[in-house]
């Protein structure tokens, strides 16, 4: 009977590099260590898990039932609409379709003619419905009292599926809103798969481009928290109403006020 070969020595999982203390200065993936030219398995799997979270976020869907119930409790009347992008792959490849309402949604919003309002709200899935599911209601619970206190008359809220930011302009026009505020899931990063963006437009109508909008981004507890985000949006929306504009002409000087 032949001898079994000696077991291979295993020195243990590759250690991080000796300069791992530098990790304190950055969230970048430094001092990973290696086996051969490859990263250690723990890093390979951590990367894969982060990417999996980002991919799941891209394919997540709005929790319509819970969001409608949450909006009703605020209280805000609300309805659900859909863009012209039929599916997620269609949405990803055809940004033009994600910017417009489908015929059925348009007909429902168009009639009967609603009363004009100061602010229409759109909760759009964007590239991370999970971000909207998680952050939209906590943000609105802090923002709406501020807006009511300043005399804003919010119109209905609209849940929009397969939607891009510019879809809010069509919604805002149909609802005869002076301002439209779109809360939308941002493109997931490896470290932030559920980050909410807030965009608003004064005088919304289809065809406007980015320079007509203002944006507050990275809204999530680990980024810009709910209360600071609500305060910043409140300041900007008041300024937009006062000046009658939005976009590049509206500068955020809330820091100066706070100082």
């Amino acid at each position: 009977m032949p001898d079994l070969p000696d077991p291979l020595p295993y020195a243990g999982a590759p250690a991080p590099d000796p300069w791992a203390a530098l990790q304190a200065f950055t969230a970048a993936r430094i001092a990973l260590g290696r086996t051969g030219t490859s990263v250690p398995l723990r890093e390979a799997l951590a990367f894969r898990l982060a990417h999996a979270h980002a991919r799941d976020a891209v394919y997540s869907v709005l929790d319509t039932e819970r969001l409608l119930a949450g909006l009703a409790a605020l209280p805000l009347p609300a309805c659900a609409v859909h863009s012209r992008a039929a599916t997620r792959p269609d949405y990803l490849q055809r940004p033009d379709r994600g910017r417009r309402l489908d015929d059925d949604s348009r007909a429902r919003l168009a009639g009967p003619a609603p009363a004009a309002c100061d602010l229409a709200l759109v909760l759009a899935d964007g590239l991370s419905a999970a971000a909207v599911n998680e952050h939209a209601l906590p943000l609105l619970r802090r923002l709406l009292p501020l807006l009511h206190g300043a005399g804003f008359r919010p119109g209905p809220a609209v849940l929009a599926a397969q939607a891009r930011v510019a879809l809010g302009d069509e919604v805002g026009q149909l609802l005869r809103a002076r301002l439209v505020l779109v809360l939308i899931g941002e493109r997931p990063g490896l470290s932030a798969p559920r980050s909410l963006g807030a965009y608003f437009t004064h005088g919304p109508r289809p065809g406007l481009t980015d320079e007509a909008r203002n944006c507050v981004s990275n809204i999530r507890p680990e980024g810009l928290g709910y209360q600071p985000a609500a305060d910043k949006l409140f300041y900007l929306l008041c300024e937009a109403r006062r000046l009658g504009l939005s976009g590049v002409g509206l500068k955020d000087q809330s820091d100066l006020l706070a100082g």
């Binding site: 590099d17 000796p18 300069w19 530098l22 990790q23 200065f25 950055t26 969230a27 970048a28 993936r29 430094i30 001092a31 990973l32 260590g33 290696r34 030219t37 490859s38 990263v39 890093e43 990367f47 894969r48 982060a50 990417h51 980002a54 991919r55 976020a57 891209v58 990803l92 490849q93 055809r94 940004p95 033009d96 590239l127 493109r187 997931p188 990063g189 490896l190 470290s191 932030a192 798969p193």
Partner: protein, 462 residues
């Protein structure tokens, strides 16, 4: 003058050259979005048949974007080298394809031909090539550029160390920088994408990079990828600008959306060269491009995105760049939907750039909303290594925490150098050996090995 081809009794007609090019282009999301892609698989191949029969001279007779309205067209037409074009002047696109793949087309012949080719001719021929042919033809080209080291030599693959940080924190940047150097990255460039374009912030980063480079006497060049107008202002203030960066595109209108013109780029080129900071050469421009940028600025004039991209290389070529980088997968799935489209585009861009005489690198990358992952990037990186790509990116762990996308890591560069026997730029390679980072055979030494780099950290980290 329509181009025609008949398949099984169906006569396809393509009204003009730009329509023909667009219909002949391998499928990608951006051309469908623009409404210029072939409607069927058959139409695409019919267009490729018709394109193969199109004389190269047609590209000199018919500007795809009007000469009167577009300075990139004027640049292409006015700088075309008729003498260099002469030997292939009687060819069709298909004949050029056959010649490029033949043994007669060696490095010398390709270098001599480059000034005679227009970007549109190169884009056209690329549409007739399979991936292996894009690789095989590009591999024959050798484009060498110099600043503080020598890039593009055969058998070499350089890396741009990209130590970005979301808030430009000097310690965060220095930490990634040390990590990258310790992994042998940074011979093409040490280049930061700044979080802000403010001149003061950019100046601080320039001084940080220059101090690190000087402290360790690294034979490489540094860059902060600010807007060219910011760089010009900082050059005027005496900031240490080795290399001037700018994003460019293939039409005047798209360049205008980036806030640049040929005159502005010329001014930046002159100003940067006037500093004479290079030691082995004075190639001082670094350009980034990417398929889809013209369409995204609504400035594509009905051209397909790959032809627009090739026209950007005419802009780059004018300023004899040190490096050109196609940031291929950054733009998103509405232009390049999945790994297959990103891989194809990366190989096309590298091929077209090299054929036009450019030091072409590729940011092998993807965003999280593209149908792509690390396996696709491994494929493209390996293919580009085989194709003789000038440089790729070096990002810690492949995860750019500032730009929010995935590129190639320091480890990836070690992998592709090892499996393909590729080495860093010679001056940088010697420095790595001297620093105890690489051994004489080019293998990374154990992390515990003594390294002057760790013995005295950059000031930002002390």
């Amino acid at each position: 003058m329509p181009y025609r081809h008949t398949v099984r009794g169906h006569a396809y007609a393509f009204d003009d050259l730009k329509t023909l090019l667009a219909r002949a282009s391998p499928l990608r999301a951006g051309d469908a979005l623009a409404g210029v892609a072939a409607a069927t698989y058959e139409e695409r191949v019919a267009a490729q048949y018709a394109l193969a029969d199109a004389p190269l001279r047609d590209f000199l007779r018919h500007a795809l974007v009007p000469y009167e309205r577009d300075e990139v067209t004027r640049l292409i037409v006015d700088t075309h080298d008729a003498e260099a074009f002469g030997p292939v002047g009687h060819f069709t696109v298909g004949q050029l394809r056959d010649w490029l793949l033949s043994d007669a087309a060696d490095a010398g012949a390709l270098a001599a031909l480059a000034p005679g080719l227009t970007p549109e001719m190169v884009a056209a021929v690329s549409k007739l090539l399979r991936n292996q042919e894009l690789i095989g033809a590009a591999r024959k080209c050798e484009v060498v550029t110099r600043f503080r080291n020598t890039l593009g030599l055969r058998g070499r693959l350089a890396t741009r160390l990209q130590p970005n940080h979301p808030t430009d924190d000097p310690r965060g940047i220095a930490a990634s920088l040390v990590d990258g150097l310790r992994y042998g990255s940074g011979d093409a460039l040490i280049g930061i994408n700044p979080a802000t374009d403010s001149p003061r912030a950019v100046s601080n980063l320039l001084h940080l990079l220059d101090a690190v480079r000087a402290q360790y006497a690294i034979p490489t060049q540094t860059c902060v990828l600010c807007h060219v107008t910011t760089a010009l202002q900082l050059i005027g203030q005496g900031a240490p600008v080795d290399v001037t960066f700018q994003s460019i595109a293939g039409t005047q209108a798209a360049n205008a959306s980036f806030g640049v013109s040929l005159a502005l780029l010329q001014e930046a080129w002159d100003a940067t060269r006037s500093l004479h900071r290079g030691t082995v050469g004075q190639d001082v421009m670094y350009f980034e491009t990417g398929q889809g940028s013209a369409l995204s600025a609504n400035a594509h004039h009905g051209l397909d995105q790959q032809t627009c991209e090739a026209r950007a290389y005419a802009v780059a070529r004018r300023f004899r760049p040190l490096l050109v980088n196609s940031v291929v997968g950054f733009i998103g799935p509405e232009y390049l939907y999945d790994g297959k489209q990103i891989i194809r585009a990366g190989l096309e861009d590298h091929f077209c750039g090299k054929l036009l005489g450019l030091p072409m690198g590729v940011d092998v990358c993807y965003t999280n909303h593209a149908e792509a992952d690390q396996d696709d990037m491994d494929a493209l990186l390996t293919l580009l290594g085989v194709a003789g790509c000038t440089f790729v990116m070096g990002v810690p762990g492949a995860d750019d925490v500032m730009l929010g996308y995935q590129s190639t890591s320091f480890h990836d560069a070690l992998y592709v150098r090892r499996v393909l026997g590729l080495r860093p730029a010679p001056e940088f390679e010697a420095w790595l050996v001297q620093q105890g980072i690489f051994d004489a055979q080019g293998a990374l030494l154990p992390a515990a090995a003594a390294s002057p780099l760790l013995g005295k950290l950059p000031a930002a980290l002390r």
